[in-house]
């Protein structure tokens, strides 16, 4: 067991280092840097720009910059925001909290809604819940949040039912983008589990009703859903960044988009890395749950 998790944690760490190097390289390879615009201003002395670049270490080779950054990142220092002239961690912390609040609510809500609907659909195949959820999935899946969010924001601005920049508006714009994917997988997993050979065999033994669902079908359906559970949070959070920017929720979203446009290097790296870290953490949590669920992992033959 210790070996199983030690390996998984080591893999996650390695993944983060690789991702950080990749993001670092991509962000640095993009043309120009934060001070590029200053150069076109004739009133600014080029020597002063070079001094600024040197102060933030932008004049050093990429590999050296990455090495220095990695050494500090391990100690919890993710660099400095050039636009705000303050440590990235200090700048991001309150906004990350807001983003996590929104994404976590939409995530939990999305799972509850879609699992409830999926169970309703699987219990009576061909029933009205089954047919309705089928339509709902195909209808909502084609509706991207980048479309839904501006429409809702417009409605909010015109009617005043929902406050622009408010939590409810952002949540309403984000959840419909989260739920359909979960509903589709939940529905498929439950239906497949309900038709598994060993569930048929359990029925043949007279096991039926609630016990059949609780003891046999739900655990069987949990297996594919747990992996999705682990991956889905990072996905919701990245969707949340877009929704935040459109609806005005004061999370990392607006800041992240600004930092990309303004080449605020360390902010871009930090936000991207946070996504990767959440993905890795989600996968680790999923591994732990699968380990608890499936005896074939706990006790190999």
């Amino acid at each position: 067991m210790t070996r199983f998790f030690a390996r998984r944690v080591a893999q996650a760490m390695l993944l983060l280092v690789v991702v950080s190097a990749g993001v670092f390289a991509l962000a640095a390879l993009a043309p120009g840097d934060y001070f590029a615009e200053l150069r076109s201003d004739p009133r600014v002395d080029p020597a002063a720009i070079e001094t600024l670049r040197a102060r933030y270490g932008l004049d050093r080779p990429l590999a050296v910059r990455y090495g220095v950054w990695l050494g500090e990142a391990v100690r919890g220092d993710l660099g400095v925001s050039l636009a705000y002239n303050m440590p990235v961690t200090e700048l991001l912390a309150p906004r990350a909290g807001k983003s996590l609040e929104l994404a976590a609510t939409a995530w939990v809500l999305g799972w509850i809604l879609s699992l409830a609907l999926a169970v309703g659909a699987a219990v009576r195949p061909g029933g009205w819940m089954d047919r309705t959820t089928g339509w709902l999935v195909s209808g909502l899946l084609v509706l991207p949040e980048v479309l839904l969010a501006p429409v809702l924001a417009l409605v909010a601005a015109r009617t005043g039912i929902l406050r622009l920049g408010g939590f409810e508006l952002a949540l309403l714009a984000l959840t419909p983008g989260v739920a359909p994917v979960l509903l589709r997988h939940g529905r498929a997993a439950l239906k497949e589990a309900a038709g598994a050979a060993y569930v048929e065999a359990a029925r043949a033994r007279g096991i039926a009703g609630r016990r059949l669902w609780l003891v046999y079908i739900f655990p069987a359906a949990a297996n594919p859903l747990i992996s999705l559970f682990g991956m889905s949070f990072a996905g919701v959070l990245s969707g949340s960044l877009v929704v935040e920017a459109v609806t005005g929720w004061p999370g990392m979203g607006p800041l992240f988009l600004d930092s990309i446009a303004g080449r605020d290097f360390y902010v871009v790296v930090a936000v991207t890395l946070m996504m990767a870290a959440l993905l890795a953490a989600g996968n680790l949590a999923a591994d732990a749950m699968l380990y608890a669920l499936d005896p074939r992992l706990r006790r190999p033959q």
């Binding site: 359990a202 043949a204 033994r205 007279g206 096991i207 046999y216 655990p219 297996n223 005896p295 033959q301």
Partner: protein, 301 residues
């Protein structure tokens, strides 16, 4: 139901699947307390459909007509214990054997005592509860799993055990062990033993029925049917004797078994039969029932 020891009384059983396949075309037989009735036939002859119909396990889309009367509490599924061919597909991979046995035992004895019934059943099939109740399916061999399935059937205290090719996936030693255990543990339960192997039925069954094209074409004691077959199909089947475990379909008889989706006239074996007469292709021979043991125009003439 006539006779206190009559456990199963099947009359004019017909099964048709949603794809139009008429798998069973009028089958009549009885099983009495304590007897082992063999059902012999090639794959596709309809023997599994007969087994599922007796156990009440036909898929919902299948149409069944005729009557299947079971002794005792006919509504309770546990009146029939079904032994599936592949034990590995019968057990839930996430649940311990003991847990799955207890779920089945609870159906038979909702008032309690499931734990002791499970221990007794496991001991009876030679899987000591101390060692195997906590084991998971993937930790057992094929033979052990089939014995565990037998134990699960036994805790349901069935009046009849329907065993559909219970040893087709096992080697000879495990096969003998499983069949000995069925013999030794069934008590007064009747057994419907389904196989494509005449040799196995010769050793294990008291009476044997031979199925072809969805009908029983011959019945009698095992010695009579297998040593002195009267129906041309049984004769051909026994002549190519060692068709063995591999195929299930006997290639040495010229021609193909009938397409179960086709309406047919006359005897279903007529096209492949060496003793074919004009009448065989015109009219169906008298069906096998209490009075008639062989369904063939050539018989007795």
């Amino acid at each position: 139901m006539a006779g206190a020891d009559l456990l199963v009384d099947v009359r004019d059983l017909r099964v048709e699947y949603a794809n139009g396949s008429r798998a069973v075309r009028g089958v009549r037989f009885q099983i009495r307390a304590g007897e082992v009735v063999g059902l012999l036939g090639e794959s596709g002859c309809g023997k599994t459909s007969v087994a599922l119909a007796v156990a009440g396990l036909l898929p919902r889309a299948a149409r069944r007509s005729g009557t299947v009367a079971l002794a005792g509490n006919a509504g309770r599924r546990a009146a029939v214990g079904f032994l599936f061919q592949e034990a590995a597909r019968v057990f839930h991979p996430f649940l311990s054997l003991g847990r799955q046995m207890r779920e089945a035992a609870r159906v038979a004895a909702p008032e309690g005592g499931a734990g002791r019934a499970v221990e007794a059943a496991l001991e009876a099939v030679g899987l000591p509860a101390r060692e195997f109740a906590g084991a998971f399916p993937h930790q057992l061999s094929g033979g052990q799993l089939q014995r565990a399935q037998l134990a699960q059937v036994l805790v349901g205290e069935p009046a009849v055990i329907v065993a559909d090719e219970p040893t087709a996936a096992l080697d000879r030693a495990a096969e003998d062990q499983v069949l000995d255990l069925i013999e030794g543990t069934r008590g007064k339960a009747g057994v419907l033993l389904i196989s494509h192997e005449p040799e196995m039925l010769r050793r294990r069954a008291g009476r044997v029925m031979v199925m072809y094209g969805g009908k029983v074409v011959e019945r009698g004691t095992a010695e009579q049917v297998l040593d002195a077959p009267r129906h041309p199909y049984t004769q051909a089947l026994m002549a190519c004797g060692k068709a063995g475990k591999t195929g299930g379909r006997i290639a040495e008889i010229p021609g193909q078994p009938p397409d179960p989706r086709e309406e047919e006239r006359g005897c279903s074996f007529a096209t492949r039969c060496a003793k074919r007469m004009a009448v065989c292709e015109e009219r169906e021979p008298a069906a096998v029932d209490e009075a008639n043991e062989v369904s063939c125009w050539a018989h007795g003439e």
